[in-house]
């Protein structure tokens, strides 16, 4: 998928932009997100989009105020721009991490350099997004951060009728055994750990294939097409949904 500035849905038009699946799952957690971003227009867009998705958003336009808010209001997740007046975004994160605050942080930056990204993550950011980005991408990543799979010893993943045995390396849908290639297994495992979450192409490339760039050919779609072909057999209700222009969701219920 390509980079997009803003692909947010027009509020009031249900299902716009999403032809074959309802919009991203409603955020039932009423999670509180702190946004530290100095550009008011970008901040407004992000705030509106997150509010539409049921998030409670607090906005602060500079680093020092942002750090204070992060300390006082204890958000569930934070979105932090790198270049901020007052205090650099990475310094804010570093300060919080020193205080043992483990709130997941998504770093935003206009700097795309690979080294820069590494630095952002090393300083305590949990994910990194380069501007310009699709708002859908941002929301998907925030949701992923909020619902990060708990480190579990579970060796059997279950989503609806789907079962994945991590020891035996086998997959079943109901009674039907699904034959998977190693790479397909890896992809399904990742999706099952994050069921009912929108997974963007960029996220899949980074996490499943460890690709740090966007290849010319739509690799993700081809791989997903094959996996879907195997998971959703003929006559079965589809579980893997394509959210147009955004990514994919593995739904537990159809």
């Amino acid at each position: 998928m390509a980079l997009v500035f803003s692909k947010r849905m027009v509020p009031g038009i249900p299902g716009s932009g999403m032809a074959d699946a309802p919009a991203v799952v409603e955020n039932q957690l009423m999670a509180k997100v702190l946004l530290i971003e100095d550009d008011s227009e970008t901040a407004e867009e992000i705030t509106a989009e997150l509010a539409d998705r049921g998030f409670e958003v607090e906005w602060s336009a500079n680093g020092i105020e942002g750090l204070d808010k992060a300390r006082s209001s204890r958000p569930d997740a934070m979105i932090v721009d790198r270049l901020l007046p007052g205090m650099d975004g990475l310094t804010v994160i570093e300060a919080l991490r020193k205080e043992q605050v483990r709130t997941p942080v998504l770093v935003l930056s206009a700097l795309g350099a690979v080294d820069d990204r590494v630095r952002g993550l090393r300083m305590g950011g949990d994910d990194y997004l380069t501007k310009p980005f699709a708002v859908v991408e941002l929301v998907a990543r925030i949701e992923a951060l909020l619902r990060r799979p708990v480190e579990s010893r579970e060796t059997l993943l279950r989503v609806g009728p789907l079962e994945l045995d991590l020891i035996e390396r086998t997959a079943k849908r109901g009674d039907r055994v699904i034959e998977l290639l190693p790479r397909e297994f890896r992809l399904l495992e990742y999706m099952m750990q994050r069921s009912d979450q929108l997974l963007t192409r960029a996220m899949l490339l980074e996490e499943v294939w460890n690709y740090k760039f966007v290849p010319a050919t739509n690799l993700v779609d081809v791989h997903m097409g094959r996996l879907r072909h195997k998971v959703d057999g003929p006559g079965e209700a589809p579980m893997i949904h394509n959210v147009r222009g955004a990514g994919f969701i593995l739904r537990s219920v159809s």
């Binding site: 500035f5 038009i13 795309g112 080294d115 690709y211 290849p215 010319a216 690799l219 081809v222 791989h223």
Partner: protein
């Protein structure tokens, strides 16, 4: 003053007030002139010292000679009988046209018996060696104080014989030396200054000339060059070097302008499409679905423009980065298998055989993510340009000259000889492939990554394209030769 010379710039920085008080001619302030002045000064001091030394030597020599002469004479005259002695003395004084000879005999009580010395000099040691003494010379015309070399001997009858010789000759010689010095040194010194001034003026002129040309270049005339004479002279050589640099820069600037045009064109095409779509959609769409379709199409157009911008920025980022300290050992064999694994389904969809052949395990030093990107780009291209039913091979080979080669071969239409250079140009897309999606920056990216690692990229023409990334061995690279394994797909 019309275009400021470099010298002026320097001086004005020192005088922020503006005009320099008491403007000297420019050549006097020039460095060259200062050097000439210094050399002339050193030369003059050297010559003066040399002449001084010569004078001192001559003086020394003449004195020694006079001393020898008068010593011999005093012994000779002292040995004669008193009568013969007086004769010999008269003789001696007569045969002295220059008046340098002095002789006298004093009685034991000190009064003069004969000769042209008024009195016995008080500081003269009798029977000692020749020495300098202050005497008063008397003759018919009067008395005269002189410093001369003298020697005195007491004779058997108690009289004292004094002989002397005036060494003013030495002073005359010094006079001549001084004149020679003035005659020789002054013109030489002036010549030095003139040469310095001339060189300085000449250098200034050339700097001024260069300055004017440079001003024209700054003003935008990129074809202007520095004055260059075909003489083996440092300034001309320098001008030649700068001209070479200007040639290169002119070429680059033209190339850049070309790239700029290409970028504008490639960005404008999808944006124009998006604009038309939006415009038509706004007038014609009547339902929500139609409006959404229009928005989707417009977004796709904008996405494509953004993809181009991202690719360009990334290209610039890689081209401008230095060999990173984050380089690590990258096992190429594993990496190629990984790329193959990712592209298998795509190849399969096109009914293309994708095969990876690894004959040895090779580790290179580099950035794994970038190297994957490079190889993935090559494989992506190969699959894109290979017709259905064809094949793409990814191979890891050992070259003869201690190199490792990553080779991607396809059975597509290939790149012909004329296009070989062109494919590395930004946005170059062969007419044959105008309809294939892509932004035409893939190979640039590969080339930039390869260059960053100090590897080489080779493109072989002919039916079926063969592209190679050649990685020269580092010292201490361990190559483990594996039995050839083939992993075939499809």
């Amino acid at each position: 003053m019309v275009p400021a010379t470099y010298a002026d710039v320097d001086v004005k920085q020192g005088h922020p007030g503006g005009e320099i008080p008491m403007r000297q001619p420019q050549f006097i302030r020039s460095n060259t002139f200062h050097w000439a002045l210094m050399v002339a000064g050193v030369f003059a001091v050297f010559v003066i010292v040399l002449f001084g030394f010569i004078y001192w030597q001559i003086d020394d020599y003449l004195t020694a000679r006079s001393d020898r002469v008068i010593t011999l004479e005093v012994e000779g005259i002292a040995g004669l009988s008193p009568e013969r002695r007086l004769e010999a003395m008269d003789e001696r004084l007569k045969q002295d046209p220059r008046g340098v000879q002095l002789a006298a005999i004093f009685a034991a009580d000190g009064h003069r018996i004969t000769g042209n010395i008024e009195s016995l000099p008080p500081d003269l040691r009798i029977d000692g060696p020749a020495q300098a003494a202050n005497i008063v010379k008397t003759n018919g015309s009067g008395r005269q104080h002189q410093v001369v070399r003298t020697i005195a001997r007491r004779m058997r009858n108690g009289d004292v014989l004094v002989l002397g010789r005036n060494v003013d000759e030495a002073r005359e010689i010094s006079h001549v030396v001084g004149e020679a010095l003035a005659l020789g040194l002054l013109p030489a010194f002036l010549l030095c200054l003139l040469a310095g001034a001339w060189l300085s003026v000449r250098a200034q002129k050339r700097v001024e000339e260069v300055n004017q040309r440079v001003q024209r270049i700054i003003a935008g005339d990129l074809r202007e060059r520095l004055p260059h004479r075909n003489i083996d002279e440092p300034f001309s050589k320098l001008a030649g070097i700068v001209n070479g640099m200007l040639d290169e820069m002119e070429t680059l600037i033209h190339a850049l302008a070309g790239v700029g045009n290409d970028i504008a064109h490639d960005l404008r095409t999808p944006l124009t499409r998006a604009r038309i779509t939006l415009e038509r959609g706004r007038t014609n769409a009547t339902t929500l679905e139609q409006l959404q379709a229009v928005a989707d199409k417009a977004i796709a157009g904008i996405d494509q423009s953004l993809t181009i911008i991202t690719a360009l920025l990334r290209l610039a980022e890689i081209e401008n980065s230095r060999r990173s300290a984050s380089f690590a050992d990258v096992p190429l064999h594993d990496m190629l298998r990984e790329v193959c694994d990712i592209y298998e389904p795509i190849a399969e969809n096109k009914n293309i055989t994708l095969q990876v052949g690894v004959t040895s395990r090779v580790t290179v030093r580099g950035d794994r993510d970038l190297l994957i990107e490079a190889v993935a780009n090559l494989v992506d291209n190969a699959i894109k340009f290979t017709p259905e039913g064809g094949r793409v091979d990814i191979e890891l080979l050992r070259g003869g000259g201690g190199e490792t080669i990553v080779q991607v071969t396809d059975t597509g239409s290939g790149i012909n000889e004329q296009e070989r250079e062109a494919v590395l140009r930004r946005f170059y897309r062969s007419d044959k492939i105008r309809n294939t999606p892509g932004v035409g920056l893939g190979l640039n990216l590969v080339a930039a990554i390869v260059k960053l690692h100090g590897f080489r990229l080779a493109i072989h023409p002919g039916p079926g394209c063969r592209v190679e990334i050649i990685c020269p061995d580092r010292e201490g690279t361990k190559q483990q030769i594996l039995p050839a394994t083939r992993q075939t797909v499809s």
